[in-house]
Every structure is written in C-alpha cells, then in structure tokens.
C-alpha cells in the first residue's frame, strides 16, 4: 500500500556524470528516505530552474542511516540539463515517496531486468533482495547502448549473484536486446520464480509475455507523463487488461505484468 507522502527541501550532496548524458545525484532528504521502498518514485522541483512542473524520478537507492537518496537520470531536456548543473549544497524540493513499489517474496530467486535509465530503480530493489532479505541473491540483466554504460556495475555488483549485460552495438556482453539473454539465464538458474522489469515499454512488453508464457510471476514498472504524482491530474491513467482504469502514479508505477501486457 502507498505510504505517507510529504514534501521536503533536500540538499544536493553530489551530482556527478556517470557517462556523457547520464548523471547520478545524491540528495540529503531524510524524511522521504525513511519511508521510501524499492520501486517507488519522487517528484523533484528545482526551485532555481526554469521549468514549471515537477518531474518524476525513480528512487535509485537510499542510505537510510545517512538520509541520502540516489537519483540517476539522463540529461534529456531543459529540466534535466538544469538539474545537472546544480552543485553541492543546492536546495531541491523532493515530494515523496510516491506510488507502490515492487513486491517481495522469499520463495525462489528473482531476475531483475533494467533497460536504459530504467535500470535506476533496480539498484534499491537489488539491495533489498541481495543484502537485506535472506533468500538467494538476484540475477541482474541490464540492456544498455554500449560499453560506455557499464557504470551500473558499481552500484549493483555487491547485490547480485550474476550481472549480465546486453548492448545495442555488441561492444560489451551479448549484442542485442535484454530479452535475448533471458532463455539462457532461466536455463542456468532454474530456481528463478520472479521477474521484475523497468525499462522501455517495448522491452517490458516482450519480457512480460515471455514470463507469462513460462508461468513466472512478473512485475513491470511503468513510466508516463504526469503533472502531480499522487492521483489528481489524471495525466498518467491507462486501462488494464481487466478493464479497470489505473493511475501509474498512485496505483503503480509497479504493476502485475498480466494486467498491463497479458
């Protein structure tokens, strides 16, 4: 169930380039961090910036002791470019934690799949499965553009049983899409019972269909344009396979794959 949500003025602790267009920002915002669960998101407002609406970012990771929140974002437009210029100590408004995150089950192993900056929420999810829960460590499969996007390993290695990359250009790991690597992974780890995916829609759809066919429990994390993040603007609604209308922000962003792609 959705947790209590609040707005907190955080401080930028660091804001570093991970690659030419991807940044990692660490924010100090202990109240939001205390409540945040894997798969939830925050709405960020750079009060010094020129954009009007908040922007949603998945919670990439948290340090609950220090009250730190990690966001990993691609510089894709005016808002994220302005965000990338913020220096240590800059204030930033954080609204959250928002939505419902991934569900967790001690029965069997989990395969975590991320694509592009959709990999970000996989980190906190992997921490929970690989460092906080008793069960087997997750297998992590990442689809990236090329060998310049291997920085994800630094965040994920400690929590994974095995970390697999596919690249669009074949410059590292298997050439192709993340889904192409799944049959081999399932063969090597027959104890996998759950798949959790966050990435481009086409990637999630393919993997969801594969998981449903194989009888594996599968959750997908959706992304849609939204103005508010807590269920009032109705910018992010969609109709599920059951015919029920859902809000990505309030009912998701994590959904059972069957309801979205079944």
């Amino acid at each position: 169930m959705a947790t209590k949500k609040l707005v907190e003025t955080g401080n930028v602790i660091s804001n570093e380039e991970l690659s030419a267009d991807v940044n990692a920002m660490v924010l100090e915002c202990p109240k939001v961090v205390e409540l945040a669960q894997p798969g939830q998101f925050v709405m960020i407002k750079n009060e010094m910036g020129s954009t009007y609406l908040r922007r949603p970012f998945g919670v990439a990771d948290v340090d609950k002791e220090k009250g730190l929140l990690l966001l990993i974002y691609r510089k894709a437009g005016k808002g994220t470019n302005e965000l990338s210029m913020l220096e240590e100590g800059a204030p930033i408004s954080v609204e959250g934690p928002l939505g419902n995150g991934f569900s967790f089950d001690n029965d069997g192993r989990t395969l975590l799949v991320g694509g592009g900056v959709g990999i970000a929420p996989i980190i906190y999810t992997a921490r929970k499965l690989g460092a906080e829960m008793a069960g087997p460590k997750p297998i992590i499969l990442l689809g990236v553009r090329n060998h310049k996007e291997l920085f994800w390993s630094d965040f994920l290695e400690d929590f994974s049983q095995k970390l697999v990359y596919t690249t669009d250009d074949g410059s590292y790991g298997r050439k192709g899409f993340a889904i192409d690597a799944i049959p081999d992974i399932l063969k090597a780890y027959p104890d996998i019972k759950h798949i959790k995916v966050c990435g481009p829609t086409i990637m999630m759809k393919g993997i969801a269909e594969l998981a449903i066919k194989q009888g594996l429990e599968c959750e997908v994390s959706l992304e849609k344009r939204m103005a508010c993040g807590f269920g009032v603007c109705l910018g992010c609604t969609f109709e599920g396979k059951s015919g029920k209308r859902w809000k990505v922000c309030g009912d998701g962003p994590v959904f059972d794959a069957e309801e979205v792609f079944g």
Partner: protein, 307 residues
Amino acid sequence: MDMQRLATDFAGIKMATPVMGASGTFGFGVEYSDFLDLNHVGAIISKGITPLPRAGNDGVRIAETPSGMLNCIGLENPGIDVFLRDILPKVRKTAPGTTFIANFSGSSVEDYGMMAEKLDVDGVDGIEVNISCPNVKEGGIVFGTDPKAAAAVTEMVKTHTSKPVIVKLSPNVTDITVMAKAVEAAGADAVALINTLTGMVIDINSWKPLLGNVTGGLSGPAVKPIAVRMVYQVANAVKIPILGLGGIATAEDAIEFLLAGASAVAVGAENFVHPDAVVKVAEGIDTYLEKRGLKNVSELVGKVKIN
C-alpha cells in the same frame, strides 16, 4: 491564521477561507490530506463529474509549457453514480468540515438538469456548472461559447437544485462579459473564471502535435494576467460574485484577483507543483490583511484603483 479575517460567504456558500482547490487539479480533496490541513481549505471543488463514467482522451495528456502546462485529460471520471455512492461518503468522512463544491457537465441541456438534481444532496455545499471544458467535443465548451446555450443550461440547473449555482466560464470567447451577463440573467448565483485557454504544442522532430487530442487547455502562471483582466471586466459587467482563478501560485497573485473584483479565488495547476498551495495562499492573504489592518478579506474585493 485568523479564521475570522478569512471567513468567506461566497454566493451563500460558507467557507473557512476564500481559497479553494480548482476543479480538475484537486481531485476530490482527500488526495491532499498528506500535504495540508483540509480544515484550512476554503472549498474542495471536485474533478468534473459527468452522467456516465469517462475514460478521457487517448495519448499524451500533459505537456509543460513556458510558465505553465497544457492538458487534454478529457474529463476522465467515474461518473455521477459512483461519485455519489463511493466518493462523496469518503470525502465527508475524511473532510467533514470542509466545504465541498461539485463540478459537473453533461452532453445536453437535459443532462445538466438531471445532474443538478442528483447532486442536490447532503454533503454537497454548492455546484459548479462546467460549460467550458476545451477537451471534450460533446458538452462542455459547446455551451460555454454561445450565450443562449449557456443561459439555457443555467436555467435548467437552477430549476433542478436547491444549492448555490456557480457557472464556470471559458476564456475562449471574444467577450467574456457577454457570457457572464447571459448566465447572470438566467439565474446563476456566481460565475467562476477562467477555465483554461486552448493551446497547442508541436513536436518539431516528428512534426506531430505533442498532445493526443491535438490541442489542450493552458493553465499555470502564464495565464494569470489574462485571467485578472477578465475578472476585472466581468466584475464591471455583473452583480453576482466572481470566483477568480487562472495561474494563482502565491498569495500576491490571489490578492490581485480579489482587487480586480473576485470575491473568492481558486488555485489550479499550482496544486500539482506545491500540493500545500491552497493553504499557503490563504496564510499569505491573512498576513497581508493583518499588515494592512483589514478585518476581513471582503474588504479587498474590487478595490483596484482606476484613476
């Protein structure tokens, strides 16, 4: 906050403050309970309710614009029956003391009468008639751009309710005072203005409109000066009270509307950005009144000095 200074009677609707949450940006109010004290909200104005459930428009529904946003939600809502059965009781349980105004629209004059009658129930303190949604073909703006149709809807609603009736006007007309006078003559207890301005954004990479519905309604700080001007014009044209809205983000913005002639105001898009805005604006108005030694917010209404 000094609740006496802020207490407002708007067209017979009693409110704790003159600052409401605008329709379509405030859900049914209860969604904001984590962010603000609902007892300090002047009124919750509900998301637009229609006779049947509506899924809204397909495709992209939200776009950021300079100092504002475009939306083309298309009146997604669960319909009047679900509202009355499930939502209204929840609102009254969560926010028993908060004034609640139901916003609604229909596809025909008869629809509006039927809706007004169904909403004539305990727990609803007033009704806001939406004749100005720019994002649906049937209903909505069809009635909001023709003074005769607007008057017909207003008359129909007035004969089917015991509640105070606010008619929400569209700015997408040549002269908004013509519309305001038409609904006043038809019996409206108040007017609300402005609804969103029709706008459009084109993606120059794909050469396609960004919004799924091609055009959408513009709101946010970008529209504020237009809204203040229209409130000023309407205040000089009608005697019924005005609910002023359009781009209000701060108490200073709200005070401009009051001086222009609005008796109460509503915060819209800003709720998405700062979900405590309705209360923050009321607090700021209270501070302003205190500094100027004014006893009630009504002392500001229409006091703009023109020579």
